[in-house]
C-alpha cells in the first residue's frame, strides 16, 4: 500500500509542475512579442493595454473555474490556467522594461549604424533582461499558486486535487497530503535557488 501511494503523489506533483512550466512557456511565446511591440509603440500600447488591464482585473479564480467547466479537468485545462495567470506579470514587467530603455541607447545604436537585428539583440534584449527575469519569476510563482487553487476548487487533475482529496480521507492519507504540500514548497525553493537566483547573480555583476 505505502509503496503504491508514494510514487503516486510524486507523479501528481510533477504533473502539476510540468503543466505550470508548459503554461508559463506558452504565455512567454505570446507575451514576449506583444509586450515588446507595445513597449516600443505608444499608439499600440494605448489601444491594447487597457483591454489587457480589464481582463487582468477580472477575478481569475472565478474565470478559471468557469473555464474548467468548458474544457474539462485534464492537463489541457491545467496548462491553459497556468498560461492565463502567467500572462499578466510577464506582460507588464516586459512592457515597463522596454519603456524604460534610455533613449540614448537607441541613439548609440543609430550613430554606430547598428541594423534592426543588432539593435534588437544588442540593445533591447539585454536592456529588458532584468525585467524579463522578474516577470518570469512572478509569473511562475503566481501561476503555480493559481493552478493549485483551481485544482483544489474545481478538482482539476494534479497535486492540488490530490491534497484536497487526501484531507477528506483518513489520518493516514492526510499525511500524504501534508507531504505533498512540503514537496511543493521544496520544489518552489529549489526552482528559486537553482534557476532564478543564478540568473539574478549574473545580472548583479553589471547592474
Amino acid at each position: 500500500m505505502q509503496l503504491g501511494v508514494t510514487p503516486f503523489f510524486l507523479a501528481r506533483v510533477s504533473q502539476s509542475f510540468v503543466n505550470v512550466a508548459v503554461g508559463v512557456s506558452l504565455a512567454l511565446v505570446v507575451v514576449m512579442p506583444l509586450a515588446l511591440l507595445v513597449g516600443l509603440r505608444n499608439q499600440l500600447d494605448e489601444a491594447i493595454t487597457p483591454i489587457i488591464m480589464l481582463v487582468g482585473a477580472l477575478p481569475d479564480l472565478a474565470i478559471l473555474t468557469l473555464l474548467v467547466t468548458v474544457i474539462g479537468r485534464g492537463n489541457v485545462a491545467a496548462v491553459a490556467i497556468s498560461a492565463f495567470s502567467a500572462f499578466f506579470p510577464i506582460y507588464f514587467t516586459i512592457r515597463q522594461g522596454v519603456k524604460e530603455i534610455p533613449i540614448d541607447y537607441f541613439h548609440v545604436a543609430s550613430v554606430f549604424k547598428a541594423g534592426r537585428l543588432d539593435t534588437f539583440s544588442k540593445i533591447i534584449l539585454p536592456s529588458i533582461f532584468p525585467n524579463f527575469l522578474t516577470g518570469l519569476r512572478l509569473s511562475f510563482e503566481f501561476s503555480w499558486n493559481v493552478l493549485l487553487a483551481v485544482e483544489i476548487i474545481a478538482s482539476v487533475a494534479g497535486v492540488g486535487s490530490f491534497i484536497s482529496n487526501s484531507f477528506q480521507g483518513s489520518a493516514h492519507s492526510m499525511t500524504y497530503g501534508l507531504a505533498a504540500i512540503m514537496t511543493v514548497g521544496l520544489l518552489t525553493i529549489l526552482m528559486d535557488r537553482a534557476f532564478f537566483e543564478r540568473l539574478e547573480q549574473r545580472i548583479k555583476r553589471w547592474r
Partner: protein, 278 residues
C-alpha cells in the same frame, strides 16, 4: 567654382521647427555655416536654444525641417559611418564590459572579434584605461565613463567627432584633465571636432572657432575665431578679454530674449485687457 577640399561639414539655411499642435516651436532659424576638415568648433548659446538639436542633426538623429546639411559635399540624411558621437549621459551599455563598449561600433559593422578588440585596446590605451577593459560601467567614475565614451567614438575611426556637452556631467577637475586629453587627441589625429557646451571657458580653451547662437529661435549670432596659442591658460589676459567679449554677446542675447518674452507678455496682457474692456 573650385571645390574646397577642406570643407567638411556645411549647414545651408537649416531651419528646425517642432510642431506639437496647437503649438509650433522654431528651434533653429536659417542656420548657415561651414566647418573645415580638422577644425575644432565649439557651439555655445543660451540654454534651450537648440545647440544640441544642431549636433543631433549632424549625427543623423534628427532632420532639418528645411535647408541642407552636407558632409564633404554629400547631403546628410541618415547617420554617416564616418561621423561619431560622445554623449552627455555617457550612454555606455551597462551589461557590456569597458572593452565591449568600446568595440560596439566595430561589432555592429561585423569587424572580426580579434581585430575589433585590438582596436578597442589601442584606444583604451590612448584614453588611459588600459587596465580597466574587463570592468563594467557601474564600476567606473564619471570621468572614466566618459573616457570610455570617447574611446568608443574614436574606435570606428571617424572623420568627425560630435560631442554633446561631453564634459558637463563630470566634476570640474576631472573634466579639465579630460579636456586637455581631447585637445591632444585632436592635435594628433586632426579629426574634425564639434563640441556643444554651455561652458564658455571650455569653449575658448578648445576651439579654433566658436559658433555663438542666439536665443530661441537660434540664429548664428557670431563666429569667433580663437587664435590663442595652445595650451591656453584661462588666466592669460587674451583669454580673459575673449571671454569678456563672447560673454557680453551672450548676455545681450539673453537680455534680448527676456525682453522679447516680456514684450510678449505685455501684449498678451493688453489683449486680455482690451477684451475685458469690450
Amino acid at each position: 567654382m573650385a571645390v574646397d577640399n577642406r570643407l567638411h561639414v556645411e549647414f545651408a539655411n537649416v531651419t528646425k521647427v517642432y510642431s506639437e499642435p496647437p503649438q509650433t516651436v522654431t528651434a533653429l532659424n536659417d542656420i548657415s555655416f561651414k566647418i573645415n576638415e580638422g577644425e575644432f568648433v565649439c557651439i555655445v548659446g543660451p540654454s534651450g536654444c537648440g545647440k544640441s538639436t544642431l549636433l543631433r542633426m549632424i549625427a543623423g538623429l534628427d532632420r532639418p525641417s528645411s535647408g541642407e546639411i552636407r558632409f564633404k559635399g554629400d547631403l546628410l540624411t541618415a547617420p554617416h559611418p564616418k561621423i561619431s558621437m560622445v554623449f552627455q549621459t555617457f550612454a555606455l551599455l551597462p551589461w557590456r564590459t569597458v572593452l565591449e563598449n568600446v568595440a560596439f561600433g566595430l561589432e555592429v559593422q561585423k569587424v572580426p572579434k580579434r581585430e575589433r578588440e585590438n582596436t578597442a585596446r589601442e584606444l583604451l590605451g590612448i584614453v588611459g584605461l588600459k587596465d580597466s577593459e574587463n570592468l563594467f560601467p557601474k564600476q567606473l567614475s564619471g570621468g572614466m565613463k566618459q573616457r570610455v565614451g570617447i574611446a568608443r567614438a574614436l574606435a570606428i575611426d571617424p572623420e568627425v567627432v560630435l560631442m554633446d556637452e561631453a564634459f558637463s556631467a563630470i566634476d570640474e577637475f576631472t573634466a579639465e584633465a579630460l579636456r586637455e586629453e581631447v585637445a591632444e587627441i585632436h592635435a594628433e589625429t586632426q579629426k574634425t571636432f564639434l563640441l556643444v557646451t554651455h561652458n564658455l571657458p571650455e569653449a575658448i580653451e578648445l576651439a579654433d572657432r566658436i559658433l555663438v547662437l542666439s536665443a530661441r529661435p537660434a540664429r548664428v549670432k557670431s563666429i569667433v575665431p580663437i587664435e590663442l596659442l595652445r595650451p591656453r591658460s584661462p588666466t592669460s589676459s587674451d583669454f580673459v578679454s575673449i571671454h569678456k567679449d563672447i560673454f557680453s554677446l551672450l548676455q545681450a542675447e539673453l537680455e534680448a530674449s527676456i525682453m522679447r518674452r516680456r514684450l510678449g507678455e505685455i501684449r498678451e496682457f493688453q489683449k486680455l485687457r482690451d477684451m475685458e474692456g469690450r
